[in-house]
Amino acid sequence: MKLKLNIWRQEDANAKGGFETYDLDGIHGDMSFLEMLDILNNELVEKNVEPVEFDHDCREGICGMCSLQINGEPHGPDKGITTCQLHMRRFKDGDTITIEPFRAKAFPVIRDLVVDRSSFDRIQHAGGYISVNTSGNTQDANSIPVEKENADLAFNAATCIGCGACVAACKNASAMLFTSAKVSQYALLPQGEIEATERVLNMVHQMDNEGFGNCTNTGACELECPKGISLENIARMNREYLSASFKG
């Protein structure tokens, strides 16, 4: 198929960016979206034009490195997948596709479609862990049984890949879904309960410092999340935060 691509180009964080248009031919439905960009880039190199920079790594939807706002939606038109899992059979001959970086104040553009998501890492540094030494002197793994239902809910929250689609989807660029997923995972497990108060306060505080917006419960984050992280996590975090505020 033949496509017209409108792609955001920006030299670096300080430069002014803008859209460039490229025509691309010979794309098949079985190709992935990122393979389509690989092909474009190789054509650009052959024409001595600097290729489009974009983040990607595992190309199987688990590392969270790929991003992209495709036709206005994070990770493109399909639900429950990352950009690297999007296939070209979703588009048709003659389509125009607009590709932009994830937009948020807390995700500054590095170059073209690549953004800096280190704010997410800093939220995790603030409390995304259980303070247990890795010395090997822990008790036997089966000594504390965990209710299957809670273990499963903790697992569901823990499957967040930290891609930032929730922030990109939110009109306020809020990071509540991301932060609440980690808070929930630990709050649901006996191992994580002990530090629950401090954790939620520290992580929320860091999230606010990074310049993410407030949550107004539109639910866009859950809808666009490639891993289906549930809004219930935000509710759980709000409860944790409230009770921590009284304690703290």
Binding site: D12, D30, M31, S32, E35, D38, I39, N41, N42, V45, E46, E50, P51, D55, H56, D57, C58, R59, E60, G61, I62, C63, G64, G80, Q85, H87, R111, R117, S118, F120, D121, Q124, H125, G128, Y129, I130, S131, V132, N133, T134, S135, G136, T138, D140, A141, N142, P145, V146, E147, K148, A151, D152, A154, F155, T159, G162, Q185, Y186, L189, Q191
Partner: protein, 667 residues
């Protein structure tokens, strides 16, 4: 006498590690604060090592090319992690895990390292649970297990099909705790470009900041290479796009021997290649072989009809299906080790029974599992006379709860529903058992330079068993390296900070700048991918699932030619002083082009078939691998001598004192 000293402690195998820990030198906590350690790579091995070293008190600097340590490719491991916990009471023990791993590796690994791995395996599970890793549990609240290939017990712990993700995020959380304490400085979007050796010891690295392009000097008292494997030398593999050999290869060029480069794991259950411009292959977890049955049609005409789209697999009756693994290997059936399963698939496809358009695929079928589970589920929920539809509906639910995410992934890529029609699979490059040679301390032949996880060679011999990579990465990082590195650093307590102003740092930096300038200045006509794809084809066709002397000789020649062409005709656009993905690819492919030649050279010299290394000249009449213990019971560790063709081999003889050397049989 060999120049290689494995430094294995004396005594009975079960006591060695304990005895070692009792006798090594320790560094007191106050002195650890004066010692710096660099860790390159933040996957399971690097991440867990960095966290533990920082927790012990060392100052740690980590480096990864991704934008966060959480992206490392360990995250993509699906099926599980082995541990000899014997929670199922099915007769598992440290010795059995040790035995299975050595046998699975086709008797080409070092017994003592493998025993230690089995010994600490149980501890890994304890550690991860304490960290909040949400492993799968049974209704009673205890941990659940599943089975993997090559073994007869259930010792694999898992978190749905995302075990690697959960374990990596566990290690990442342990790192975050140390970052928050200021004990780890994380340099993300950085690539190690050179190892710096001062007075014969590893004392730092040169790294490139991938955002600004700046070349940086970083010093330390020891350097840990945890940069993963080199499967991307084949271009198409299940590795992440950025996975590369650069850190390991640069270390090799600075004196670290490279062991068994030809031992590559071709994983049997991957989604088949669909087109020429494909960039990446996707694995379907081996755990699927617990319940999926592998088959091709018995009649060649049926395969042809399927390829032409005239027949559907669901239209083929049971008696016309060839469940070739169950036929050839009745004892292990669909759960034979990966190398055996891969070769068997290739054998059927080469014989003309392949089932996709290219004839390069076999079926993985869940029909019987859906029936079996559906019946059981109906019974346990009180339906003693369920209808066929009811059984299938319930069976699909059970299969979905076990493998749902894998089935979804398959459907997204192929646009076919695996609940209704069998999956199509074919082998693909997945893991490299070879890597930097290390002794019992996990130290390379460069003093002070360690290699852990997939980057080293030590534990998996010529073939790795499923769910053992996660185990090894975490064992090395959490429980082994933190002890062994102390034994070395105990001599460094008075050294003080290592200066980056020495001539060694200056020369290393200059060499990195030269490498980059050289690539940018070629200004040829072809993009980097062109060369990488060509290299991949040479490797797959002549150094892949089966190899022969003639093909390997050709490969060596073609790789050298391609390398020449690369330096004459590659075009790297953009500047060195900014974010430049083409330049990143170019530096990596330049190193792959050297490693590939050593790979083929190693495969050519090993005149036997063992594990993932299958030489067509050395096979039995029924196509099984023929090992030659008399002549090849050794590790081939290659020393760099200016170029790959001149590399010199050193042998480490392997002694099997606790396991009898046998022909591996899964019949």
């Amino acid at each position: 006498m060999s120049v290689l000293d494995s430094k294995v402690p004396q005594g009975p195998i079960a006591d060695k590690w304990t005895k070692y820990k009792n006798e090594i030198d320790l560094v007191n906590p106050a002195n650890k604060r004066n010692i710096d350690v660099i860790v390159v790579g933040t996957g399971l091995a690097g991440g867990s090592a960095a966290a533990t070293l920082a927790e012990l008190g060392y100052n740690v600097k980590t480096f990864c090319f991704q934008d966060s340590p959480r992206r490392a490719h360990s995250i993509a491991a699906q099926g599980g992690i082995n541990a000899a916990k014997n929670y199922q009471g099915d007769g598992d023990s440290n010795y059995r895990l040790f035995y299975d791993t050595v046998k699975g590796g086709d008797y080409r690994s070092r017994e003592e390292n493998v025993y230690r791995l089995a010994e600490v395996s149980g501890n890994i599970i304890d550690q991860c649970v304490a960290q909040g890793v949400p492993f799968a549990r049974e209704y009673g609240g205890l941990l659940d297990n599943r089975s993997f290939g090559g073994v007869l017990v259930s010792r694999t712990f898992y978190a749905k099909g995302q075990t690697g993700q959960q374990l990596l995020l566990g290690a990442y959380s342990a790192m975050n705790r140390q970052i928050n304490r200021g004990k780890i400085q994380a340099f993300n979007r950085h690539e190690m470009m050179e190892l710096v050796v001062v007075d014969g010891k590893a004392r730092g690295i040169i790294a490139r900041d991938l955002v600004t392009g700046e070349i940086e000097r970083h010093s330390a008292h020891a350097v840990v290479i945890a940069s993963g494997g080199y499967g991307n030398v084949f271009y198409l593999s299940t590795n992440a796009m950025g996975s590369n050999v650069t850190a390991a290869w640069r270390t090799h060029k600075k004196g670290a021997f490279f062991a068994n480069p030809c031992y590559t794991q071709i994983h049997p259950t991957c989604i088949p290649v669909s087109g020429d411009l494909q960039a990446k292959l996707t694995l379907m977890s081996e755990s699927l072989r617990n319940d999926g049955r592998i088959w091709v049609p018995k009649k060649k005409e049926d395969s042809i009809a399927i390829r032409e789209g005239k027949l559907k697999p669901t239209q083929i009756d049971e008696e016309n299906r060839d469940y070739y693994l169950e036929r050839r290997y009745p004892a292990f059936g669909n759960l034979v080790p990966r190398d055996v399963a891969s070769r068997a698939a290739k054998e059927r496809c080469d014989a003309g029974f392949g089932v996709n358009k290219q004839g390069q695929a076999v079926y993985l079928d869940f029909k019987s599992a859906i029936h079996r589970y559906g019946k059981e589920k109906a019974f346990t929920s009180g339906h003693k006379n369920p209808s066929q539809e009811e059984i299938i509906r319930l069976g699909k639910q059970v299969v979905e709860s076990k493998y749902g995410n894998l089935f979804d992934m398959y459907q997204k890529i192929t646009d076919e529903n695996p609940y209704e029609t069998p999956m199509m699979i074919y082998p693909a490059v997945h893991y490299t058992m070879g890597g930097l040679w290390v002794d019992y301390d996990l130290m390379t032949t460069v003093p002070g330079c360690y290699a852990i996880g997939e980057a080293n060679f030590s534990d998996h011999g010529a073939n790795r068993l499923g769910a053992s990579a996660l185990m090894q990465g975490l064992a090395d990082g959490y429980f082994v390296l933190p002890y062994t590195i102390g034994n070395y650093l105990a001599d460094d307590i008075r050294t003080g900070e290592i200066s980056t102003d020495s001539k060694e740092f200056e020369e290393a930096e200059k060499s990195v700048r030269n490498t980059i300038d050289k690539l940018i200045n070629v200004n040829g006509e072809k993009p980097v991918d062109y060369f990488h794809r060509k290299l991949g084809l040479i490797m797959w066709n002549k150094s892949g699932m089966s190899r022969n002397a003639k093909g390997l000789e050709e490969a060596i020649h073609e790789i050298a030619e391609l390398r020449d062409e690369f330096y004459k005709n590659v075009r790297v656009t953009g500047k060195a002083e900014s974010k430049n993905a083409e330049l990143e690819k170019a530096t990596r492919v330049a190193d792959f082009l050297e490693l590939a030649e050593l790979f083929a050279k190693d495969a050519l010299h090993r005149n036997e078939s063992c594990g993932g290394h299958f030489r067509e000249e050395y096979q039995t009449e029924d196509g099984e691998a023929m090992r030659d213990d008399e002549n090849f019971k050794y590790v081939a560790a290659w020393e760099f001598k200016g170029k790959p063709s001149e590399a010199v081999m050193h042998k480490e003889d392997l002694n099997f004192e606790n396991i009898e050397l046998k022909t591996r049989s899964y019949k």
